[in-house]
Structures are given as C-alpha cells and as structure tokens.
Amino acid sequence: MKRGLLLWLPLAAFIVLATVMIFGLHKPDDQTIPSKLVGTPVPEFMLPAAAQGLPGVSSRALAGQGPHLVNIFASWCVPCAAEAPQLKAIADAGVPIVGIAIRDRREDLAEFLGRYGNPFRAIGADDQSKVQLALGSSGVPESFVIDSKGIIRRQIIGPINPGDVASVIATVQGAQ
C-alpha cells in the first residue's frame, strides 16, 4: 500500500509544478526595475550645468530646498517629449522640478527645451549615466520625489501621464 502511494508521488509533484508554471505564464511580464533607494537619502552627486542660463544640480544644493521632483530625461528620448506638457503643468502648480539630462549634447538639449518648453529650475548634465546609476534608475524618463530632508519618497518609472499629474503634485507637496 505504502509503496503504491510512493509511485504516484512523481506524478503529483509534476502536476503541482505544471500548475504553478501555467499560472506563471498568465501573469503579465513586468520589466520595470524599481530603485531600492526609495526611502533612503539621495546619494551625493554633483553635475555641471547642461543648459545656458540654468544652474547645474548637486545633491547638497537640493537638500535644503524643500520637496521637489527630480526628472531624469533626455532630448533623444521620445516618451520624454510626450511627458513635457505634464511636467509643465506640474511646474505651473508651483512644484520645483530639477532635470538630469542623460547623455545629452548641449545643442540638442537647447533645441528640445526650445521646442517643448522648460519646466526645470536647474538641469545637470549626466554624460556617462553616472548619477542615473547612483540613483538606481534604469531608463528615461523616470522621476523621483525627494522630500525636504533629502529622502527619496517615490520613484515614477516611465513618463508621467496626464492622469498622473494631480497625484504627482500631491505627492511632492505632501513630502515635507
């Protein structure tokens, strides 16, 4: 009797495994990589100015400025152009936005700002993606909500859509 049961064990194990895998196949593929730094202070960095008339970005200068949004973008990134009107709406609501331009040529960036408007108070040039890597970001566009103590409160992966504007404004304003 006991031996008979034992013989069925491999089949039972197979059925359990197959069930788990079939359910796994139906789960949507999630390719976003959230930064593990959410909840921790912004790592120290300093970036030179990327656009004429705007300062560069340093973690130290940001720390005392109250809650703000850090937007990681690039002029060569198509979703970033789609995101521009939403950033403008957020900036118009009084939320300070600081840009980090990834691998961007100065002249391309100037053209991008000329075409889509400039919602940024400062733009740092991250020519080798170093600050992007230090922040745990893996693409453009991404945004980080930083509170007044310099702690990363939230990471937004991908463009901010028109429907997200109100919640982003509320999150930044609530990040004291």
Binding site: I33, K36, C77, R103, D104, Q132, L133, A134
Partner: protein, 135 residues
C-alpha cells in the same frame, strides 16, 4: 571628389544601437592597461545584467547604458575597488536582480538546495534497486 566624400562617409562611425549622439564613456569599449585588473573587471561584467536589454550581461550588450556600466566597473576596479564591492553597490540600487550570481537567501534557497536534494534522493533510489537486483 565623390570618392573622397564616400571615404569620409565610410570613415564616420555609425554606432549601430546609438540612441543619444554622445560618444561612449571612456572605458566602455577600452580595456584597462593592467591585464590583471582587466581580467577582474571582465569576470565581473560577465555576471552583471544589463538594465535595458534585460536578458544580456553588460559585457555582451550594445546598449549605451551597458557601455556606461562597463566604464563604471572598469574605473572602479582601476581605482582599487574589489569586484564584490562594485557588485554590492549595484545590488544596493537594483536588487540581486542585477547580478547573475544569485546569493543564497530566503527567495533562492530552493534553487540552490533542490539539486542536492534530488541527487541524494537519486542515490537512495539507486541503492535500493541495486540491492534488490543482487538478491
């Protein structure tokens, strides 16, 4: 004149996967002068996952971010940092996802232990059937 123009065009590098117009980071495609350091950096780069092209190691990838990561790895190794410190720095930011050398922890123990368990079970099965055959 036309031949000259064609030559200039041919000599202008057209990076196959370029998405920005910027040149590659200094050590993205350049080896370190010290072969021992380069070997360490290469071994590490083969076990770090590219963040953009998620099935590839950064050593295999043409993505610009992978190039920037290679340059960062080489610069840190050249500055005397240990490969495991660089890996830990990335894991603190991206989780163990970024490493192709999964640590033994509460989510991966089953992967590490299953082969051992199966091997032991197999040995027991083999022993049982060999004993029976001898009788």
């Amino acid at each position: 004149m036309r031949a000259l123009a064609a030559l200039v065009l041919l000599l202008t590098p057209l990076p196959a996967w370029a998405d920005s117009g910027m040149p590659a980071a200094p050590y993205a495609n350049v080896q370190l002068p010290d072969p021992a350091q380069e070997a360490k950096a290469k071994a590490l780069m083969e076990t770090l996952r590219c963040l953009v092209c998620q099935g590839q190691a950064i050593s295999d990838s043409n993505a610009e971010l992978a190039g920037d990561m290679r340059s960062m790895v080489r610069e840190r190794i050249a500055a005397g940092e240990s490969p495991e410190a660089v890996r830990a720095w990335l894991i603190r930011r991206y989780g163990s996802w970024v490493s192709y050398d999964p640590p033994f922890d509460h989510t991966t123990w089953i992967l590490w232990l299953t082969p051992v368990v199966l091997l032991v079970a197999g040995l027991f099965l083999a022993r049982g059937s060999l004993k029976r055959r001898r009788r």
